[in-house]
């Protein structure tokens, strides 16, 4: 009997905001335990939630990027359960009127293109973190992550393979990173996926028993978990090894197995009701249009455009369009006057080398595109040698220095002044009579030696063409 697997995904992404969703605490990742906490996000009485407008803006953006319908009237609801990482014993989420519904994301796999339906996207707050303390055998609660804004993207059960799931996750990540909705770093927990999986005989339309694995935070773990769980379901059905129940299971990536948790599905009654502290948020058509206009060109469109309009090699275009920041840098540097191939050369060369060496990403770059354009311009006009351009770039990359100031302070500009170069040429000729004699006697290499000396005196900044010209001129005398 052949089986097909049916999967649905709930992807949680942390939104790229400065502050939390209902208070002005920092939403930054990390920090000392309970450093980014205030009475609101730690469940104190007397506090009231104040909605962060940027969160709604990013919710709309996520909806537009995934072709959803944006609900004009949004409400927030309370989801009730007790756990120490939930300080008020309720999570503020959107149950009744989520911000986006009925969207779709196109993915491409080895089997071709397909649209994965998106049931809804809703805004909600994250919970805190529990840390187990070995010494006292107790759990410690860190509220830094409490109330960090999240979007939850709920797909329809449209997946039929692991490959489709991976393609979808990568596509969501690309879209949301490009839209600057979230940085989608699974390893930092800013993107997590809950996997719902069931199997059924090929041709059957009814869905089989569904199990869920929550908070998966790496694509490789997701791959392993799906393969294991599908096999476990099939085994249970074919050979009766166990009874399949609808439940949430814990995936242990080290052991490579899933384990049953307490049966949460039937036990959980979250008693959702509308949050009376937050008035309904009405989204205007104007706001949606404004956001739609500011949406970035999608990476695949940019890729085609870079190849056609800028004559970029496919390989370069592929690399640059991995990152919105690199695309912005690329386009803005061209807009500042530099030639596309020169820009891509610098970005994929010096820039990526530095980032890789430092273990950073494009989002960590600190300098403005105009500076890169200036360096490239100086190289084009032969005022900077390629070697010195690298030195300047390093300073710009590390400390965001002013290009011209740095060049003059460090004497990096190519000296093309006739008078200065000629003086050095004459000096070198005078001080090296033997080499001059060798050259005049036919040793061609002696010219290079003289050239090298002139360059040394000029600290590598002599205009090579000019040096050669003047040397030839003087030696001919």
């Amino acid at each position: 009997m052949e089986y097909e697997i049916v999967l649905g995904l709930e992807v949680h992404v942390e939104l790229s905001t400065e502050s939390k969703i209902f208070c002005s605490c920092s939403a930054k990742f990390g920090g000392d335990p309970n450093e980014h906490v205030c009475p609101a996000c730690s469940g104190m009485p007397g506090m009231l939630p104040m909605t962060n407008q940027k969160v709604v803006e990013l919710g709309i953006t996520a909806g537009l990027l995934t072709n959803c319908h944006i609900n004009r009237r949004n409400t927030f609801d309370k989801k009730n359960y007790y756990y120490p990482d939930l300080p008020a014993a309720y999570q503020i989420t959107q149950f009744y009127a989520p911000i986006c519904v009925d969207g779709g994301v196109e993915i491409e796999t080895s089997k071709g293109k397909k649209v994965i339906g998106i049931k809804q996207i809703h805004m909600e707050e994250d919970a805190g973190k529990l840390v187990h303390d070995m010494w006292t055998d107790s759990s410690l609660v860190d509220f830094n992550r409490t109330s960090v804004p999240l979007c939850e993207i709920v797909s329809n059960p449209d997946f039929r393979s692991v490959e489709e799931v991976v393609a979808y996750l990568e596509r969501i990540r690309t879209l949301l990173r490009f839209g600057r909705v979230s940085d989608c770093r699974m390893e930092e927990g800013s993107m997590r996926a809950d996997i719902n999986i069931s199997v059924r005989p090929v041709g059957e339309t009814k869905l089989g028993v569904r199990t869920e694995m929550k908070n998966m935070n790496s694509i490789s773990a997701i791959t392993r978990a799906i393969e294991y769980e599908a096999a476990r379901h099939i085994d249970a059905i074919e050979r009766g090894t166990e009874e399949l129940v609808q439940e949430t299971r814990r995936w242990d990536d080290i052991l490579g197995q899933s384990f049953s948790m307490r049966d949460k599905e039937t036990a959980a009654d979250y008693r959702y009701f509308p949050n009376p502290d937050i008035a309904p948020i009405i989204i205007s058509d104007e706001w949606i249009e404004k956001i739609r206009e500011s949406l970035p060109e999608l990476p695949e469109i940019k890729r085609e455009r870079y190849i056609e309009e800028f004559d970029l090699p496919e390989y370069d275009a592929d690399l640059i369009t991995q990152s919105r920041t690199l695309c912005d840098l690329f386009e803005d540097t061209i807009a500042a006057g530099a030639a596309p191939r020169d820009v891509s050369g610098f970005i994929l060369g010096e820039c990526m080398n530095a980032l890789n060496r430092d273990g950073k990403t494009a989002d960590d770059l600190v300098f403005a595109p105009e500076k890169l354009a200036r360096i490239i311009a100086l190289v084009s006009s032969e005022e900077l040698t390629r070697q010195n351009a690298r030195k300047v770039f390093t300073a710009v990359y590390n400390e965001d220095v002013d290009v011209d100031k740095y060049c003059s302070e460090n004497s990096l500009l190519t000296i093309s002044d006739d008078g200065i170069v000629k003086a050095v040429v004459l000096e070198v000729i005078e001080k090296n009579p033997k080499i001059v004699a060798d050259y005049k006697g036919g040793k061609v290499k002696a010219f290079d030696a003289l050239f090298g000396q002139v360059m040394r005196v000029l600290r590598g900044t002599g205009n090579p063409t000019l040096i050669r010209e003047l040397l030839n001129e003087e030696l001919a005398k």
Binding site: M44, P45, G46, M47, L48, A89, Y90, R271, F273, P276
Partner: protein, 414 residues
Amino acid sequence: MDKLNCYVTKLDINDASRAVCVDDTILTTGMYSTASSKMLANFTAPFEATVISRLREDGYEFAGKTNTGEFGMDITTESSFFGPTINHLSEKRISGGAATAVAIGDANYGLCVDSDGSARRYASFSGVSFIKPTYGTVSRYGVIASVSSSEQVGVCARTTREAAKLLSVIAGHDCNDGTSLPAERYTYDIVDVKGMKVGVPVQLFEGLTDDAKKLTSRFIKKLETLGIKCEEFTLACADYASDAYHIISSAEACNNYSRFDGIKFGYRAENCEGLEDIYIKSRSEAFSLNTKKIVLMGSLSLSKAFYEKFYLKALKIRRLVREEMTEAFKNYDAVLSPVSAGSAYPLGYALDNDEARISERKYTAVASIIGIPSVVTQCGLDPDGMPIGIQLMGDSLCDSKIISIAAAYEDSGR
């Protein structure tokens, strides 16, 4: 000396005429804010309520934190962890801390959170005036929440005029409160009441003691001497507003009290074995019976099995009450209502008396459920010398009108 048990925390003051006593459900710093509950008996707030900041900035001082029913959600202060407040006119009867402190002159003003109408009742029982303002005009930031969609900080004082004076200091938009209405200030100007019409809803005046009935008639006659026409009318929602409000208020309060779990602050039971034990023991030991009933009722109303039948239905009824009262206010400048069936409860009467709660809630639920303003003033004394108050309800943002009627009545010598 606090013989009447008005205070959870008493403070020294210089000038009673500029002193305000504050219900212990309102957060103040540098002292406990207990909500009259064992759960918060040792809780010091890290910030103060907006209403406190505004009063302080205007030069008022605070006489202390006053006793209420636990979380301000009980018809009697007998459920307070600190015991009942005794009525200053009879040691066998109860009242609320702020109303009593104002009545005996400890402080000129009291800040009371009207969540379930109790603030209005205690004012009535102690012979003082009380203004419950329109929902959204006074910030709830720093108020220990029970009924988020309806409760408001109100002011009690010996006269309505004085209460209105303090109200204008604390009312006005607060950017920390998402349910706060936009107007920056409210001035509560006293207007001429001659020619106004007051509706008397027949259904709300059922179940009164004979003394209350008599004093109500006297009050109506008094209004008529001021040129105010009083007229009976039918208020259909009187019968179901109370049940609907009971459902809504317990659901919201139950949810607001969930944060009191013994984990982060407040009371944590001893000898707990594991997480569930901490939750169950702490809450069981620290909540009064009344609060437990509220939590159970709220959990039931929001549960999957009853959400539509109870909670959603109650929200729909709320809409019907709104519509019917809007119609009524087209004909009347104010709608009259009793505050209670009679005068102050004897000790022991209300403590576990569910029937009393059901019948008493009827009088205060209409103003609570739709957030309209209500002013309590005094009708007179019953033969035992106990005060009986009466309510004037107004349409949203028409606080001035009802304040004016009450002020005119009080000016004329009650």
